[in-house]
């Protein structure tokens, strides 16, 4: 899951993204129906989140609503995924819940990248004492597996959506710092950097103006894959009762609540679990496909 989020393939050389991208993309897409599926799943998820209140048959069911007359109903034409303990439509809750999962994932990745990448670039470019201390701090955060780290941080604060985001981002920036660090280390001896240096550009400019753009494709692949893994981690947190709190329709929390009703009300665990699964598979396939298109290695 989290800790095994495969880091994006590291390229030995900076490559130009523009050259032949379109051709390669087309070829890759044609050869790989899985990438297309992944892309469609991701697109579907984004559309679902964006238009959730219009897509969900009973959008009010995402919140604190009680419909006791129709509690624990199995899947039917009216309620495709059945209803929960207080009679809310499970499908609507899953659709509305996509907003929580996607928002968590995007917020975490943005925060992690904004913290991690600059620190990694600075650590690698400056090296010396600055670099060593950044990377040592990085190691402190990596000293325990992400899930354990996130569990500890959220439980010690008050579990809620912002805390979930904060905690996962706190664990996740390290991967971006490491990625940027590794990439920049190999890039900084390249000719184009030397060229910039001789032309009198400042360190800051070289690091962020010359080197950073070369990380773009690696970062795109990594963030796509990571969106899936963050959704997975967020759901795990919810499952252990440490995610956003009720009545928020968080997928992992829904599985945990449904678990109490197994094996009779199987729909309460099955569908939210499938939603997590679909989202993660989607980002995985799409990220993998992007990797081919952008010229990474398998």
């Amino acid at each position: 899951m989290t800790s095994i989020a495969p880091s994006a393939p590291l390229d030995d050389e900076p490559h130009s993204v523009a050259v032949g991208l379109g051709t390669r993309a087309w070829a890759s897409l044609r050869n790989s129906p899985l990438t297309v599926i992944g892309f469609l799943v991701c697109l579907g998820l984004v559309v679902m989140a964006a238009f959730a209140p219009w897509i969900a048959p009973f959008p009010e069911d995402a919140g604190a609503v009680v419909k006791f007359h129709q509690r624990l109903q199995p899947p039917s034409a009216e309620h495709w995924f059945g209803t929960d303990l207080v009679g809310r439509d499970v499908l609507s809750r899953i659709v509305m819940g996509s907003r929580i999962s996607l928002a968590t994932a995007v917020a975490v990745i943005v925060a992690a990248a904004l913290i991690g990448v600059p620190l990694g670039v600075i650590a690698a470019y400056r090296g010396g004492w600055t670099g060593a201390s950044i990377m040592r701090i990085n190691e402190v955060f990596l000293a325990i597996p992400s899930l354990v780290f996130v569990l500890v941080v959220t439980s010690l604060m008050r579990p809620s959506l912002p805390v979930t985001i904060f905690a996962i981002a706190l664990a996740w920036w390290t991967w971006y710092a490491r990625l940027a660090y590794g990439e920049v280390l190999s890039l900084k001896e390249e000719q184009f950097v030397d060229a910039a240096r001789t032309s009198g550009a400042s360190d800051l400019r070289i690091a962020f103006g010359e080197i950073l753009p070369n990380l773009t494709s690696v970062l795109i692949v990594k963030t796509t894959l990571d969106l899936g893994y963050v959704i997975l981690l967020g759901a795990s947190l919810g499952f252990l009762g440490l995610g956003p709190q009720p009545p928020a329709p968080e997928w992992g929390t829904m599985v945990a609540e449904g678990r109490e009703q197994l094996p009779d009300a199987w729909w309460l665990t099955t569908f939210p679990g499938l939603a997590v699964f679909a989202a993660v598979v989607g980002f995985n396939l799409f990220g993998d496909g992007l990797n081919d298109i952008l010229g990474g290695r398998d």
């Binding site: 604190a64 009680v66 009762g241 009720p246 609540e257 197994l262 009779d264 009300a265």
Partner: protein, 530 residues
């Protein structure tokens, strides 16, 4: 690879698989009929009567140790290790002990053991020792002779007999021999606390046979038990930890286990009752489910606002749908508790009345967003959703929030941090209305999480104080009940229901009787098998 070696390999594999299957089988079979298998979802927390205060450790303590007096459903406690007792003033209590009671090491139980046990309990000062805080001190209890014990309280305390159902007697010599020198209790070292994590030192019908931490514990019968043994009693009791309702369901349905605890979701009992070999005894519990209102925090400091809320909540749906049936609440004292007064007004839903009271209030309904905090377990979440929906009818906005126990208990401790609404259960720990009045609405109890109403009414305080010093049980209980009526009139909480106690029992188990006092429901000695 030759054909021969391949087939030999296949044969080996097959035999290994068979072997594995044959060893898996005995674990699944029910086995010895004289073994009682109980499953619970609560983790074992040790076997020390000085620490226990909850249901899960209570069951262990109850089977391994014995109290002086034993609670009876709806009546005063009866003699157990004590044969008789006497207290003319409710201040000095003299107990005559039963003769011929043996501890598990064969020694006779004497008065000195009782003295040792109460002093140990008070010194360690955890678990139920709060019941005697300010009443008993270590060293004040004396052994008059080998079979007479005298407790001298600091002041008269009427419900003392009720409270000591939670006091269990340990074997003092055996304990002293197993006490570590180093420990926080001075000359008493660790008071044997480390020892009691893996062993027992009691006189109960069972002794601890096996402990597998966080998995199970087993007791075996103590042959020299003073009560004697009859045919069809259980020789062995296994308490298995099962974290999930689905697993529990499967095991009891198959007949693999005999008994499932009361901590499963409501639907579990409904579903499992359909199994041909399972019964689900359902008894009104000496337990209260209530939503506390913080009476010191605006707008709930206004009695009319509180009354409006009391009338707006849909008790019927809560009781019938969420709790799957329960006795509708009638104030804080549970209906099966001695001293319950049936003339206390029932919880009523009446929107017109609610609006009337709201109009009388000095606050406007939309002036505040009120906090409703709960622990994410059991019925609290559906109740909170129902509550929120009900209050919306009055235009009152409720912010519901699940919190973890330590956060809730900390919040509840102070009037300025206690949430507006906080639903909890209160299970009788001793068979007296004292716990449901003094424990909830007397200023001495403020800080505890069942007193999160932070309710203080001098008249009620005075009545409870008077009740506590009254020796006569009938007079005492009347005082408690009258005090409770005033609290109800003051709308300090929503006393929603007295829930049903439900367990799932295999039909081969006979004689199961619900007592209602915390943990006293599963004394394996009372059960018989068929």
């Amino acid at each position: 690879m030759s054909r021969f070696s391949l087939s030999r390999r296949a044969a080996l594999f097959a035999s290994v698989a068979l072997l594995a299957a044959s060893f898996a089988a005995p674990a699944a079979a029910a086995g010895d009929p004289a073994t009682l298998t109980v499953i619970t979802r609560l983790t074992d927390t040790g076997f020390d009567p000085a620490f226990h205060f909850a249901e899960f450790d209570g069951m262990d303590v109850l089977n391994l140790y014995e109290p002086l007096v034993y609670p009876q459903k709806g009546a005063a406690p009866s003699g157990h290790l004590a044969e008789s007792w006497d207290s003319p003033d409710a201040k000095v209590w003299t107990f005559k002990l039963r003769k011929g009671v043996k501890f598990h090491d064969g020694k006779d139980l004497r008065a000195k053991d009782v003295v040792y046990s109460i002093d140990r309990m008070l010194t360690i000062n955890k678990g139920y020792s709060y019941l005697w805080a300010g009443l008993l001190k270590p060293g004040t209890t004396t052994a008059v002779d080998d079979y007479t014990v005298k407790f001298t309280l600091e002041r008269p305390f009427g419900p003392f007999l009720d409270t000591i159902v939670q006091f269990f007697v340990l074997n003092s010599e055996f304990m002293k021999a197993n006490t570590a020198k180093e420990g926080p209790f001075g000359d008493n070292g660790d008071y044997g606390t480390a020892f009691l994590k893996k062993a027992d030192a009691g006189s109960g019908p069972y002794t601890l046979a096996e402990v597998v931490p966080d998995s199970r514990r087993a007791y075996k019968r103590f042959d020299a038990y003073w009560g004697g043994w009859k045919d069809k009693q259980f020789n062995r009791v296994v308490v298995q930890l099962v974290g999930e309702a689905a697993t529990a369901r499967e095991l009891i349905a198959k007949g693999d286990v005999d008994f499932v605890d009361q901590w499963q979701p409501v639907e579990f009992y409904k579903n499992v009752a359909k199994e041909p070999n399972v019964t689900v005894p359902e008894t009104p519990d000496m337990k209260l489910y209530f939503i506390q209102m913080n009476t010191q925090r605006p707008p709930l400091d206004d009695i009319n606002f509180r009354r409006a809320i009391s009338y707006a909540f849909d008790y019927k749906t809560a009781v019938e749908q969420v709790m799957g049936g329960a006795v509708l609440g009638q104030g804080p004292i549970p209906s099966s508790m001695p001293g319950f007064d049936a003339s206390t007004p029932k919880a009523t839903t009446d929107i017109a009345k609610a609006k009337e009271f709201l109009a009388k209030s000095k606050y406007k309904p939309d002036q505040f967003v009120l906090e409703f905090q709960f622990i994410k377990a059991g019925v609290h979440e559906p109740i909170s959703l129902l509550f929120q929906a009900n209050m919306a009818q009055l235009g009152i906005k409720i912010d519901i929030k699940a919190e973890q126990w330590p956060v809730l208990t900390k919040n509840a401790a102070k009037p300025d941090t206690a949430p507006h609404f906080f639903p909890v259960y209160n299970t009788a720990k001793y068979p007296s209305p004292d716990a449901f009045t003094h424990g909830m609405y007397h200023p001495q109890s403020h800080g505890g999480w069942q007193a999160a109403s932070h309710y203080a009414n001098p008249q009620v305080t005075k009545m409870i104080d008077e009740a506590r010093t009254t020796a006569d049980a009938a007079k005492r209980n009347k005082l408690y009940a009258d005090a409770a009526k005033i609290v109800v009139d003051d709308a300090a909480a929503l006393w929603v229901a007295y829930p049903f106690h439900r367990v799932a029992v295999n039909k081969r188990i006979k004689n199961y009787q619900h007592v209602g006092v915390m943990a006293f429901d599963l004394r394996a000695y009372n059960l018989r098998y068929e």
